[in-house]
């Protein structure tokens, strides 16, 4: 599953945001605007692109440079982005297949065990064996669709990393308030190739705007 942030379901802790808002702006180290708390470790370098094409182009370049720990945030699914990011095929379809097959088994056993084995009851002259299969199929089909659909939706949410209490990206005010107004990219500080100065330069060359160093927000106790 492309972990395009499903912005609607993101859980946010607004109270935290406002607390540290005052000192989250300004320049730091490499003359980058800083988001979050400077005392906390650096989480990522964030950048905003104006067009989906620019974002896909940037991802291609980052991959060429060997950067692997990065995340894209787009307001809608962008064609070609998953291919550029070289995301592996999601296991969601297998989960749905598993859900569907178990639904068939559940439905058939729910119907056949009581009405053919535990309490055989002839209704309307219909036989009690499998030659009466047609009458069992509506339940099988309905349950297959239902469990398949629920697996697909729940699986999508879980595989997308949801639900979670917070995302360090929300320390970045521009992203938190305006995530639908651009195509965002964040390269995480944990990346092997991470270098603030080199990345800033590269992202700038790739046409990114609003390049920001995103720190985690200060935790509650501090």
């Amino acid at each position: 599953m492309v972990r395009l942030l499903t912005l609607i379901i993101l859980w946010r802790r607004r109270t935290k945001m406002s607390q540290h808002h005052s000192h989250s702006q300004g320049f730091h180290g490499h003359h980058l605007p800083v988001a979050g708390s400077k005392e906390e470790p650096l989480y990522a370098i964030g950048a905003r692109f104006e067009t989906p094409e620019a974002l896909v182009h940037a991802v291609d370049h980052l991959r060429d440079q060997g950067v692997s720990l990065y995340e894209c945030f787009t307001p809608y699914p962008v064609h070609g982005l998953a291919e550029s990011m070289k995301l592996p095929k999601s296991i969601l379809s297998l989960l749905v297949l598993g859900g569907g097959i178990s639904a068939v088994l559940i439905a058939l056993s729910m119907e056949l065990i009581p009405s053919c084995i535990i309490y055989p009851l002839v209704v309307d002259g219909k036989p009690l064996n499998l030659s009466a299969l047609p009458q069992y199929i509506p339940i099988v089909a309905a349950l297959t669709i239902m469990i398949g659909a629920v697996t697909a939706v729940v699986g999508m949410i879980l595989l997308g990393g949801m639900p979670r209490w917070n995302n360090p990206m929300f320390a970045w005010d521009l992203f938190a308030k305006d995530a639908s107004r651009g195509f965002f990219l964040a390269v995480e500080a944990r990346d092997r190739k991470f270098s603030t100065s080199a990345l800033t330069e590269l992202l700038h060359e790739l046409g990114a705007g609003d390049i920001t160093a995103i720190h985690q927000e200060a935790s509650e106790g501090k």
């Binding site: 989906p52 094409e53 070609g80």
Partner: protein, 398 residues
């Protein structure tokens, strides 16, 4: 990335060097089969009636299915199908020719539709239905169906060809109007013509879902034909600019969707009739599940539903045009079997009874239609070359 930035694919016209002697072969086969049908028909008019109707209706479903795809393309303003639309238009425009090919049925109509030989004055059951089921009204309706679908197909193709010349968007708007008209009127007409022709083979029988069942088979059959056709054209080196690998996914998904649609309609019809168990309704399935007809029914369940369902379930293979072609060919054969089990058990209730006439009728009608289709293929560009959505279609991403 976006479609506007890419240049339009250069229009292509079919070159008959790819057909060569096969066109003559097709014409000769058609001619021989037509003459043979005449001889066999005079010998055994009843077998001729049913075989000819079986073959004619099979091709009718494909033509009407193609018309449906053109209509739905315009009605929903689709982009992905621009590349295949011209061929769908060509196929659906064979309707007047098919009408002509079906004229021999006029002479054997009472063998086929036995109620025509009965008199409502002596048959009380027919008298009850005679307000609808009378000979004059039957033929008026039949003429209406062919006129409606024929004119609809003609208009859609004519506007499309006009757009090739001047590139004006107004032709798309006009076609959209034709489509909006044909969606409701065509849906009702297809329902009634399947009732009149197919259900009328046993005039005492009825099924309320019958029109939808015929529709499901028609759309699936036409989809199979267009997949096979676009594979053939791509193998000959055409359509490369407008059909890419992404279109294969679209074909595959639609094939799976309409396989499931057909299966569900067929199942619901069977289940409701089987469960209610009313003699006048269940007679249809009693006939088709007794003696050797039962085997064909089981082949339909397995081959028309289970096999393609499993094959088409996975995304990977659907990228391959070859795989899709195989499945489409298989489904087309299954659709043929489906029409066969609708028609022929009425003539041979004692069991499966293959006849030379069945094959001859298929060849006669099929080869004649194919020959005329080949003629149309080279008459116009292979796709609507100035359609407003052509660039979008060529860069379609599934």
């Amino acid at each position: 990335m976006s479609a506007e930035h890419k240049s339009l694919p250069v229009p292509e016209t079919f070159d008959y060097k790819h057909v060569g002697g096969r066109f003559v072969g097709l014409c000769v086969t058609a001619l021989i089969a037509l003459i043979l049908s005449l001889i066999l028909g005079l010998k055994n008019p009843q077998q001729f009636a049913f075989s000819w109707f079986f073959a004619g209706f099979f091709f009718f479903t494909i033509l009407i299915g193609s018309l449906f795809w053109v209509v739905v393309h315009h009605a929903v303003d689709a982009a992905w199908s621009v590349g295949i639309r011209r061929q769908l238009e060509n196929i659906s425009c064979l309707l007047p020719l098919l009408t002509l090919l079906l004229v021999p049925l006029l002479f054997v109509a009472s063998d086929l539709w036995t109620w025509m030989a009965l008199s409502p004055t002596t048959n009380h059951e027919l008298a009850e239905k005679s307000a609808y089921l009378n000979v004059n009204f039957f033929w008026i309706r039949t003429i209406f169906y062919f006129l409606l679908f024929g004119i609809g197909a003609f208009l859609l193709r004519r506007n499309s060809l006009a757009q090739d010349k001047d590139g004006a968007a107004v032709h798309t708007i006009r076609n959209r109007r034709v489509a909006y008209f044909l969606v409701p009127v065509g849906a009702v007409s297809l329902t009634f013509c399947s009732i009149d022709w197919m259900m009328g083979l046993n005039w005492k029988w009825n099924s309320t879902i019958w029109g939808l069942y015929i529709f499901a088979g028609s759309v699936l059959g036409a989809l199979c034909v267009i997949i096979l056709l676009s594979n053939a054209l791509r193998n000959a080196g055409y359509l490369k600019g407008v059909l890419n690998g992404q279109h294969n996914f679209a074909f595959g998904k639609l094939l799976l969707a309409f396989t499931l649609f057909w299966s569900w309609i067929a199942y619901v019809q069977y289940m409701l009739i089987w469960y209610a168990n009313i003699p006048e309704e269940s007679i249809y399935y009693v006939l088709r599940s007794s003696s050797s007809w039962k085997v064909l029914g089981i082949i339909l369940v397995v081959g028309h539903f289970l096999v393609p369902f499993v094959l088409l379930l996975f995304r990977g293979p659907k990228a391959s045009a070859g795989f899709l072609g195989l499945v489409a060919g298989w489904m087309l054969a299954m659709h043929l079997l489906d029409v066969y089990t609708m028609v022929l058990p009425v003539l041979h209730p004692e069991g499966f009874h293959p006849a030379v006439m069945d094959v001859v009728a298929l060849l006669a009608i099929g080869c004649t239609l194919s020959a005329f289709y080949l003629k149309m293929l080279g008459d116009s560009p292979l796709w609507p070359s100035r359609d407003p959505r052509l660039a979008e279609a060529a860069n379609y991403i599934d």
